[in-house]
Symmetry: C2
Subunit: 248 residues, 2 copies
DNA sequence: TGCGCAATCTTGTCTGACAAGGAGACAAAA
DNA sequence: TTTTGTCTCCTTGTCAGACAAGATTGCGCA
């Protein structure tokens, strides 16, 4: 039996896939500003691919709500409204609570130890104030939960939601005191996990994400204009041209 | 000032949009069998559109998990595994509980009355055993909740999840006794809503969806093969050709 | 019966084309 | 000066056709 000794071969990367990942990453990292238009020609030139492939990629960005497309106007990078952000955090709270609760019920000692190892990395990153590093590690924390719990649906949904708020999470985490609060909350969650108290771990997780939401909304409060209501256009970022320089 | 007197015009229906809706409806209604391959050329012919449009539509079906695409093999209609179904119901339970709880907190008397009117329609349909009618009305029940609560994120996610399990819901609802049980549960939920007891309404909703899940899984238990594991192909439906006859 | 190879499909990608909707510039009219 | 009409340019939506390379299938052969 060879199974286990070899990894399955990575399927040949399709042009449209790589293009999607490239643009998605640029959007969630904020390298393309919210509100910026994505013009097919420019994408073709920047990525070196044909319009057909660009358009297929855009359909996917659209379905994942990373861009919004108005017919005959083309896609613009989605600008997160305050309301969207609040809703995403709410759903995240539910899903992550579910995951940690399940995890507490089914994880082996090793798996819990691995979770704690990730937490240690988060703390290490926190010591250096590497904010986006911290957020990235917290995503790995999540990944471990879904890996263990094997909840594909929750994983997909969280991936989608996290992509939309990634930038906001980083901004929120940069708030003074936020890192320390986060660490403490996660510590408490891990205590509950160690004590195999799933209900408690779930409740703590839910509360933790809701705190994160509050911090994020405060960040947004200063300069966000709730609903992009009808007529008004050109709110700062939206007329800036797309910015591809960051991508290889 | 004219604003407010007029509604914004509906955007012109794009070919790719109509095609998407057509195929999506065929899939969720089961007119195209799970596992069936969707061949581009056949879709072009059946829908009377070009390959480019077909391919853009497929990207969206893919993102919504209605088809799964393997590179260079093309899309096949997603076959719901037992595990997927269980997970979808779990997330649905969380989201719908959230919605009914919010609804209970914010709904006006009129809005509650409208919910009860929809429930009356469900009961009417139940009297005639029109199973798919019942499920459709229950979706409208949901729609009313999200309309009132205005939770766009939850609405999107539920729409996506419901599309994937629609067919299963219908099958589960056909089980003897299931309709009566459902009606009773919804009745209890409405009582809680009327009494403005959000926590109770949420808990009842969660339990109700979980009951539905159990019924659905029983339906699936009889003939489902959990994971489509690697090599094995051609499990009954998957070699059946696509079936477009139902669509205009 | 089982295997290997060639013929046939099918997908992935590119190119080029064209109609029609949107946006901005500019001139004419009130 | 503000409003309206017109023109031009840009961009999207859609189509047709082409071709390489990976998948399938069926057939002949052992």
């Amino acid at each position: 039996m060879i199974a286990g000794a070899l990894d399955t071969l990575a399927p040949p990367q399709l042009v449209r896939e790589r293009a999607f990942e490239e643009v998605r990453d640029a959007i969630i990292a904020g390298r393309i500003a919210p509100g910026a238009r994505l013009i097919e020609r420019e994408l073709c030139a920047a990525l070196g691919i044909s319009r057909a492939s660009v358009r297929e990629m855009i359909r996917r960005l659209e379905a994942e709500r990373l861009v919004s497309v108005e017919p005959r106007k083309g896609p613009t990078v989605m600008a997160l409204t305050r309301k969207d952000a609040a809703e995403i955090y709410e759903v995240r709270a539910l899903l992550e609570a579910l995951l940690i609760e399940r995890f507490t019920a089914v994880a082996s000692g090793d798996e819990i130890a691995h979770l704690e190892r990730i937490f240690a990395q988060v703390r290490a990153a926190a010591a250096t104030d590497a904010v986006s590093e911290i957020v990235a590690l917290m995503l790995r924390f999540n990944d471990h939960l879904v890996d263990v719990v094997r909840h594909d649906v929750a994983r997909d949904l969280l991936r989608q939601l996290n992509a939309r708020i990634n930038f906001l999470r980083i901004r929120a985490m940069a708030k003074p005191g936020r890192i320390a609060a986060s660490l403490e909350e996660i510590g408490a969650i891990l205590d509950a996990v160690r004590g195999r108290d799933g209900a408690r771990a779930g409740a703590l997780m839910k509360a933790s994400v809701e705190h994160a939401r509050d911090a994020a909304l405060e960040q947004l409060a200063t300069q966000d204009t709730d609903r992009p209501s009808g007529k008004r256009r050109g709110s700062a970022a939206s007329r800036r041209p797309t910015d591809h320089q960051g991508s290889r």
